[in-house]
Subunit: 346 residues, 2 copies
């Protein structure tokens, strides 16, 4: 197979995206559903792994939400055999999932567990440029700031020494299928997403084609460029918010509670945008329920900081209690979350 | 008319958006095409002008691109009479316009000229939230960064002491028509935009309704919020880029040329995003042809700064000659545009 594969530009593009020197001699856990994208990635990575003397482990998670899923698991196991790599699998708990988000959490928990037990330094998933475009459109429609607009991140630290990577974000699904056709490699058609995320599927099958054919042929490139710029800008903002937090924020935790103190005098003459970003960072760092904070709640919180006529004490989603203390020099904002309440009050 | 009008919430919303204390006793030039939006704005402003002892001048620009346009001009003149305010009009030059952009330039040149001759401190136009949503969508589809994503600006300085303002960006067209219905006030139906900007009209009549009904009822709010955030972020970036320019950029002009010198040592360890923003600012300040600079050209210019292996001399659109001089301490980038060539080589 090597000779066909290595001539194909997909392998070269993958190598450009993720040079093999960066993972030479290491173990890489490859998330493979059995669908075209992940099968193509596994095949192309196996060529590069050969060059880089790296080890691939194909990891399949069976969501068990449709009858064919056992067949997919078997297919991935066979593929691992063909490519000469190890294979691990996991499956959903007996209760299954309430929704796509829960499925996602279980899937990533499985991947992390496997990465640990296999000693993998990288976990790679086969998200494509098409997935990125759909994600960005979905978020624009539903409402997003720059953080969301920047789309699916290319890398994310999963745990100490374990990095999640998406090396195919620069490739389109069509290229991946073309590559599989040239290889004569089969894949499993995945119908599950038709059930699991209706809006997302209509964005894929209806909205994106309409925008391309009726409005702007280059709309995908426009969205990918915008996401890139939004991501860079978000990083810039975050680094400034981080510097601000170093001056203004103190975090204390004990068994019962997490307690954040914000020195309001350090926020004078700081643009509201940056204060908001710093607040979001606090929520992220402490793993407070950020999704439950809408535009309205962030604005309420900002107002507590900027406007002394607002209530001096309010409770935010996830039972985050916020109190403004004006007696302290320059003023303080105290944010407290009791840990015992987290389970029940989220 | 006063009694009906002043009870209506539109007048109150307009006052919230642009408190009458900000223009008390001043002269305001109101751009009125004769369409529903601008007629509603003129009516509502005339109530507030009465309260604030301000003077309105209705300004109509006849594009002369359709037969009914003389009728529109007459309608606006009559409206001025009804509202008891002065009226001025202008019309397109004999050659007409090549395109919508040229029409826009002539229209704003007329408004500025009238503002000067009437001593108006404000020029107001009737852009609505709907116009804003369409602008943002149009730009997203065609490709934009944060600057474009922030949409139509609420205010812009036209000239010393003359500010362009769009106080209706928070109102929807439907509210404005409702207000006119309640007043029993007529307006001119404007069919011209069907001819002049085809994509824009399809965004209005096809895409926005589809997104609202089939994908996300709140999509307009999402886009307006995103634009607001993009605008705030862009300001933050620009203020940092401005500080960077103060350290790194020197501008010299004489009769023959504009010459910009960038001290490359001041750009070390500055994120590329900020360097790019600083470059865009240079183009804006010197009125160089920014539209002709695409993503590719900005990247080429950035590479000249960051990567010494790129060509040390290149010419960019509008005949901007860029040369890297590594002999100077820390390195310099020189950007030169000869004024004699501007007319012919743009």
């Amino acid at each position: 197979m090597d000779s066909i594969v290595s001539d194909h530009s997909l392998v070269e593009r993958l190598e450009l995206s993720w040079p093999v020197e960066q993972w030479q001699g290491l173990t890489v856990l490859v998330a493979v559903s059995g669908g075209a994208d992940s099968v193509a990635m596994a095949c192309a990575l196996s060529v590069l792994a050969g060059r880089g003397k790296a080890d691939l482990v194909l990891a399949h998670f069976d969501h068990q939400w449709r009858e064919e899923s056992a067949g997919d698991a078997h297919f991935v196991e066979k593929l691992a055999g063909q490519l000469g790599c190890k294979h691990v699998k996991g499956q959903a708990g007996q209760q299954g999932f309430q929704n796509e988000q829960e499925a996602r959490q279980q899937r990533y928990a499985f991947l992390l567990e496997m990465a640990r037990s296999e000693g993998a330094r990288f976990v790679v998933t086969a998200h494509t440029a098409d997935d990125q475009v759909e994600t960005i459109l979905d978020r624009i429609l539903r409402g997003t700031g720059l953080r969301g607009l920047s789309g699916i991140p290319r890398t994310r630290v999963l745990d100490e020494g374990i990095v999640l990577l998406r090396p195919l974000l620069c490739c389109h699904k069509a290229e991946l299928k073309e590559y599989l056709d040239e290889l004569g490699q089969e894949w499993c058609e995945d119908e599950s997403n038709l059930d699991t995320d209706f809006t997302r599927n209509r964005i894929r099958h209806q909205l994106v084609p309409l925008l391309k054919s009726e409005f702007q042929p280059s709309v995908e490139e426009s969205l990918l460029n915008l996401a890139e710029l939004a991501g860079q800008t978000q990083q810039f903002l975050q680094s400034h918010a981080g510097q601000l937090a170093e001056r203004a924020v103190t975090v204390a935790r004990d068994d019962q509670q997490q307690k954040v103190t914000i020195d309001l005098s350090a926020l004078a003459s700081v643009p509201p945008l940056l204060v908001r970003e710093m607040l979001v960072e606090i929520w992220c760092q402490l793993d407070w329920p950020r999704q439950a904070m809408g535009m309205r709640q962030w604005n309420q919180l900002l107002e507590m900081i900027q406007d002394e006529t607002t209530p001096s004490s309010q409770t935010f989603p996830g039972n985050v209690r916020v109190t403004r203390d004006e007696k302290k020099s320059g003023g303080q904002l105290k944010l407290t979350r009791r840990l015992e309440n987290i389970e029940t009050k989220d």
